[in-house]
């Protein structure tokens, strides 16, 4: 049994290629059933997101046959000339395939390292494959392992802890000043998209009081109604500034809407409690020297973007720690896979030996005459002893090979074959004796 993974992602292929190869949700069941033909490919899963299209498959045959089959499948489904995407395809086998799957689930292969959506997408792909009936015991082992390593990465490294978007960085900064945003008052100046997004973030973290001010009164009132906020005219800003703990400014114009004297005048009324100002407008609409005032913290769009970059840097550092966790999980998973592979063979082999021994016993029982319970027990011990001594070297060898990852396919098939042959002969002899 071999695991192969063929696919492309945001790093190997541009969006024009990715979008043409992507699978729509509604075509997935049919595509999955087409992919998994039961002979070349016995289990399959398709992960199709905006950043990647990947086919994960399990095959009983050699890997290149399966890879060929997947390529043919992509070609058939997409009617794309192969050279349009061929160069972008990566192919992973066994250990590498498992590692890639784990890295994807743990968001180590994502465009934004550590972004949390990908795990949900992998789970979705798994659920769809289960629904289409293309998941067998191998993928049933593999995918839950991928989810658990993703969870470990999330809890044991800081890969997903820091904000990497401008609006979430603004919230993080607010938390570094106020700790708890509950009960804080936010003043929104302007009604841009970014400002609205930031306000949404803040409201989600517990901000209750919201003041909204805009050049056009209607837009302010419209937003105010949406957020259950208070609308203010732009001219009234200096008066209401003292009420605000957090000010988000995203407004157009030529003159500063908040000048240094305004802010300086508001501070005594705030009893010098910190005031957090975010100016995401370009050109800047809060006088930059306001940031020099005591207990006033002013950030512009560049400052926020600088934090975003620093956090991405930190995520890369944490990702290196996550790779260690992934490597460990890959080895554990491969060991489980091998155990899963040899387990049934060993069991069948032993069962077969027992069947032979006991059927022979039954055949010769009539020559033995009536047996006492002690004799009966001695006979069982005799047979079990012979079976164990006979089977032990082969079973021990297989267990060891499974532990060390050196199972040779011919050994496995020999034992399987042996079981089958005996079974066949048994059937023959029983039918002829009747």
């Amino acid at each position: 049994m071999t695991i192969v993974l063929v696919g492309l992602n945001h790093r190997t292929a541009p969006v024009e290629v990715r979008e043409r190869l992507a699978f729509a949700e509604e075509e997935l069941p049919q595509a999955l059933r087409q992919l998994v033909d039961g002979t070349t490919i016995t289990e399959g899963l398709i992960l199709s997101t905006c950043n990647r299209v990947e086919v994960l498959a399990v095959t009983p045959l050699a890997e290149h046959t399966a890879i060929e089959r997947i390529r043919a499948f992509l070609h058939e489904r997409r009617h794309l000339p192969p050279d349009a995407y061929e160069a972008a395809l990566y192919r992973y086998v066994d250990r590498e395939a498992v590692r890639h799957l784990f890295r994807v689930a743990a968001s180590l292969d994502s465009m934004v390292l550590g972004e949390p959506q990908i795990l949900g997408q992998v789970k979705e792909a798994y659920a769809r494959a289960i629904a289409a009936g293309t998941v067998g015991k191998t993928l049933h082992l593999l995918l839950p392992r991928a989810f658990s390593v993703a969870k470990r990465v999330r809890t044991e490294t800081a890969i997903g802890t820091e904000a990497v978007s401008v609006s979430s960085v603004a919230v993080e900064l607010a938390r570094k000043i106020f700790e708890d945003l509950e009960g804080k008052t936010v003043l929104l100046i302007g009604a841009g998209k970014m400002a609205e997004l930031t306000v949404r973030h803040l409201v989600a973290t517990g901000v209750r009081h919201l003041l909204i001010s805009n050049r056009t009164r209607e837009r302010a009132e419209q937003l105010a109604a949406q957020f259950d906020a208070e609308a203010l005219p732009l001219e009234a800003l200096p008066i209401h500034l003292a009420r605000a703990d957090i000010v988000i400014c995203s407004v157009g114009g030529t003159d500063y809407v908040l000048q240094r004297p305004h802010v300086a005048a508001a501070m005594p009324a705030r009893r010098n409690r910190p005031l957090f100002l975010i100016d995401i407008s370009v050109p800047r609409m809060i006088e930059p020297s306001v940031g020099q005032l005591e207990n006033v913290f002013l950030y512009d769009i560049d400052d926020l973007e600088q934090i975003v970059r620093a956090h991405l840097e930190h995520r890369r550092y944490e990702a290196a720690r996550a790779e260690v966790l992934v490597d460990q999980a890959v080895e554990e998973c491969l060991a489980s896979l091998r155990r899963m592979e040899v387990g049934p063979v060993i069991a069948a082999f032993r069962r077969r030996l027992e069947e032979i021994a006991y059927s022979e016993l039954e055949r010769h029982r009539r020559y033995l005459g009536p047996l006492t319970p002690e004799q009966e027990r001695a006979l069982h011990h005799l047979l079990e002893g012979i079976i164990n001594k006979f089977a032990h070297p082969a079973i021990a060898r297989l267990h060891q090979a499974a532990r060390e990852g050196t199972v040779r396919p011919e050994e496995l098939s020999f034992l399987e074959l042996w079981g089958d042959v005996v079974e066949a002969r048994e059937r023959q002899s029983s039918s002829s004796s009747e």
Binding site: F178, D180, P274, E294, N295, Q306
Partner: protein
């Protein structure tokens, strides 16, 4: 150091372990297990520490406050007690341990290596046996501990504030508590320290009243203590009544602590008991 100091050595090791755990949490984020380990190490250290102090008190029949060794051991003990208390009441007190625990450990170390020798003037005997003395000394030590942690919290406030103002977001930004958490830790410690100082001075007045005026007539230390108290009274008043916060309030905590430290050190230098 001799065999009787073994509990103190044990306490030192336990405090260092607690410090190590805090450093690890600082780097790797605080897990519940680590939080619990810090509490365990602190508790173990404090038990051994208390045992050592108790035995010293029994042995000499008075508060262990005479030799250098005893003074440092007692100070470290008060800081450890207050730090543990603060950890139980404020969830961001853990980072303070980054500074408080090395100080505790350092004081215990100084106690371990310094002499237990004490010069005890006969006139002091009476004072040492007064029942109000342990109370007075306990209050004063806890006051110092409170002011020390208020000082450390203010220091963290200023460091975090500088980071936020300069927009250089490094380790301090990432791992130190928010401004308002530093503020709350400092505020709480200040109030605690001030309460203890008030009680300490109160019991001190009783002691002065009952003891031979020969010791304390014209003692600059008593004047200094009152000045310290007045200073903190003003700070507490402005914080409670006028809601003073922010950078300057943090700086006042730092100045106040330094003044207290001067009072204390000079008290020791001139051989007085405070």
């Amino acid at each position: 150091m001799d065999r009787t100091d073994l509990p103190l050595l044990g306490a030192l090791i336990a405090y260092l372990l607690a410090f190590l755990q805090v450093v690890v949490s600082f780097w790797w984020g605080e897990a519940r297990l680590r939080r619990w380990l810090v509490r365990l190490s602190l508790g173990a250290g404090l038990s051994m520490h208390t045992f050592w102090l108790g035995r010293a008190a029994m042995q000499f029949g008075h508060v262990p406050i005479i030799s250098t060794q005893e003074v440092f051991a007692l100070l470290a003990w008060a800081i450890a007690v207050y730090y543990l208390l603060l950890r139980r009441t404020h969830r961001r007190a853990d980072v303070l341990g980054l500074f408080a625990l090395p100080i505790i450990a350092l004081f215990v170390l100084v106690a371990l290596v310094s002499t237990g020798f004490k010069l005890l003037p006969e006139e002091l005997e009476g004072l040492l046996r007064m029942p109000a003395l342990p109370l007075h000394i306990g209050f004063m030590m806890l006051a110092y501990a409170g002011f020390l942690l208020a000082f450390l919290a203010a220091l963290m406030y200023l460091l975090q504030e500088r980071e936020l103002k300069r927009k250089r977001f490094g380790l301090i930004y990432r791992y130190f508590p928010s401004l308002s958490a530093c503020e709350a830790l400092g505020h709480r410690s200040l109030l605690f320290g001030f309460l203890m100082l008030t009680l300490g001075i109160g019991t001190g007045i009783i002691l002065l009243h009952r003891s031979d005026p020969v010791f304390w007539r014209g003692d600059p230390i008593i004047v200094l203590a009152f000045i310290t108290w007045l200073f903190y009274l003003v700070v507490v008043h402005y914080r409670l009544a006028a809601g003073w916060r922010g950078r300057r309030a943090a700086m006042l905590l730092i100045v106040g602590f330094l003044a207290t430290a001067v009072t204390f050190v000079s008290a020791r230098l001139f051989g007085h008991i405070l």
